[in-house]
Symmetry: C2
Subunit: 380 residues, 2 copies
């Protein structure tokens, strides 16, 4: 993987760049639709291609439980299994173990947890997570980390952060084994590895985490442990002091963020990569996004007033019952090009599965269009 | 609407024909995917176009309850509301009132029923059903009928059949009002009207029903009240004596049928039109269809051995866990061209909505391909 910065914004820390992977180029800053279990909910790969998705995110945790890594190995990787030819980023499983599993125990070796599905016990270690991600063949792999909740006592935040660093080092060693002959059939060279900065909202811990990980020299750096309940103000504070500690020439990934205005603020603070369930989950609940201005004027609006460039349409609201306009008359997505708000509302009210699909297409179109516009703003 | 027979099969009563409507030509015999509430579950119009669907079926009963006929009127009809440009057949609501509504009362005027949704009381009359179908703008409308359960006492079957005839007459009068100036803005001339033969499994009642309706001269004739619990043998007996009573030069529609082998048997007995929830409902439960022979050999197999040309794949079965073949390697649908049984099974096991969609695409592809092959057999 290579990363090149093409342009820097004059009035902010935003950067325009490109990541080259074995599965193609990704223009930064970008947003990754989430294909947790190997599919973006309600969408097929060709829908994502039509929307212009550059890369999707899948989860090691979910895929190791079902269908299991052996099957994906047998199909020579996730790309082929799910029939997606563009880049894939896989999360390490750390966040899911933290958020999903009822009974889990963190030890130095890794995380012990019981499957939500059948209660079976698993031990996920940094090495095992890398092994699985190598088998999945993702273009960007993540190190197993320990994500702490908010609020978190400083003592424990420090402990978790230090363990995250040790796990990152073990992940790295696991990816590039001492003897190259020892691990055949692993395309580890073409798979990038990112580590994850932790440290809750404690400045000294965050900075220490960043320095330790930067010393180990990863392909990119993620910021984890945010959007876990802290006030948004604190998140921006973390970015303000943390991003300058990260190397200029490596991609920066803010995990699990966020709302449109949060993405824009984070881009301005120097973040290149985003993922979030918000657009797809909201879509499935009939909560839709619409730009307040036409695309041609959006460019001006975006960076100058990042809170005020879009509105929310709750399509199940009675006021849309007879509304024959598309969600957004300026949107080029399949949904807006073909269906009215009234029809979409009808589909939601009668619980037709097509409702969630059409809404998902539109919301991802909004997010991906927003990212294209952000890149235009930086390009100048 | 016009109907022309192009060819008759030599060894059976099957006919090849074409129905011309204002929304295009439909080749007969054909199968209608069911878009009960204005969408084929999980599919968008372009999916149906890609599959080669010629016509879809929607339900007056469901659409009158939600979103209500006023909204559809406002969009100038169902085609525009759901963005489907090919023909639509609308059922009259009779069958749904019979099968869905908890409390209903049949009187000479029509059917009184309570909505399943909000308990509101409705009176559906033959005239009202036609009014709604005229507003929907469907290419083929159905007369309100009274469908009786199986078994049904002959006395009641006779009563219901006679009422169905009277209602058919009222429907016809309602469609073509005495004074043409009385009903402006109704494209009734371009909308065909079919009546429905009833009479349960009683030969004399069925024949009487057919003669009465044929005397009234409809655009086509449906056979209703079958597949309501009677042994399949009895259904074929009804077809054997009933079809010869129907006019040669009018389309014949067997309502709510059926399994692949039932469709083939009915085609051989002279039926031109079919609808059924089986392929789409089965798809949503992971029950998939596969031809036993290649398309090139299917033609020979179809009519000669109509029970033995396909198999059922229950994709959730563990035996498909590691099966990397498509459902049917000879199938041209999007699902078979892009995904393995193992992936489809995985999607079903983790309850990804894409599972039902990919399965629906495949099962409809099977049904529509079967109809194309049937037409080829008749063409000779």
């Amino acid at each position: 993987m290579t990363f090149k910065i093409a342009k820097k914004d004059k009035s902010s820390s935003a950067r325009l760049g490109r990541i080259e992977t074995n599965h193609g180029v990704i223009k930064t800053p970008f947003f990754m639709p989430i294909a947790t279990m190997g599919a973006v909910k309600t969408l097929a790969p060709r829908d994502l291609e039509e929307l212009g998705a550059q890369i999707i995110l899948s989860n090691t945790y979910h895929l190791m439980l079902r269908p299991g890594v052996n099957l994906i190995k047998r199909t020579s990787g996730l790309h082929k299994f799910i029939n997606w030819s563009k880049p894939i980023l896989t999360d390490s499983g750390g966040y899911q173990v933290f958020s999903l599993s009822k009974s889990r125990k963190i030890v130095e070796k890794g995380v012990e947890f019981s499957s939500d599905i059948d209660g079976r016990k698993y031990l996920l270690t940094p090495e095992k997570s890398i092994d699985i991600q190598l088998a999945l063949g993702s273009d960007i792999m993540m190190c197993l980390d320990e994500c702490v909740a908010y609020p978190c006592k400083k003592e424990y935040a420090a402990e978790a952060m230090e363990r995250t660093t040790r796990w990152a080092e073990r992940s790295q060693k696991s990816k590039i084994p001492a003897s190259p002959a020892g691990r055949k059939n692993q395309k580890s060279e073409s798979q990038a590895l990112f580590s994850i900065v932790q440290g809750s909202v404690y400045k000294d811990l965050r900075l220490e985490s960043a320095r330790n990980l930067v010393n180990l020299d990863f392909d990119g750096y993620a910021i984890g442990g945010l959007a876990v309940g802290e006030p948004r103000k604190k998140m921006y504070q973390v970015l303000d002091y943390l991003v300058p500690e990260l190397p200029e020439n490596k991609p920066r990934y803010l995990m699990g963020i966020g709302k449109p205005e949060e993405i824009i603020k984070a881009v301005k603070k120097g973040i290149d990569m985003f993922d979030c369930v918000i657009p797809t989950r909201n879509a499935r609940h009939g909560v839709l996004y619409k730009f307040k201005v036409k695309s041609s004027k959006l460019k001006v609006r975006l960076f100058s007033n990042s809170e005020n460039f879009y509105e929310i349409i709750r399509i199940k609201n009675k006021k849309y019952k007879n509304n024959l306009s598309p969600i957004d008359p300026n949107c080029h997505c399949y949904t807006c090009q073909n269906f009215s708000r009234a029809y979409l509302r009808h589909l939601f009210m009668v619980k037709e599965p097509l409702a969630q699909r059409l809404a998902t297409i539109h919301n991802l179109s909004f997010y991906l269009e927003m990212m294209r516009e952000i890149r235009k703003v930086i390009r100048g």
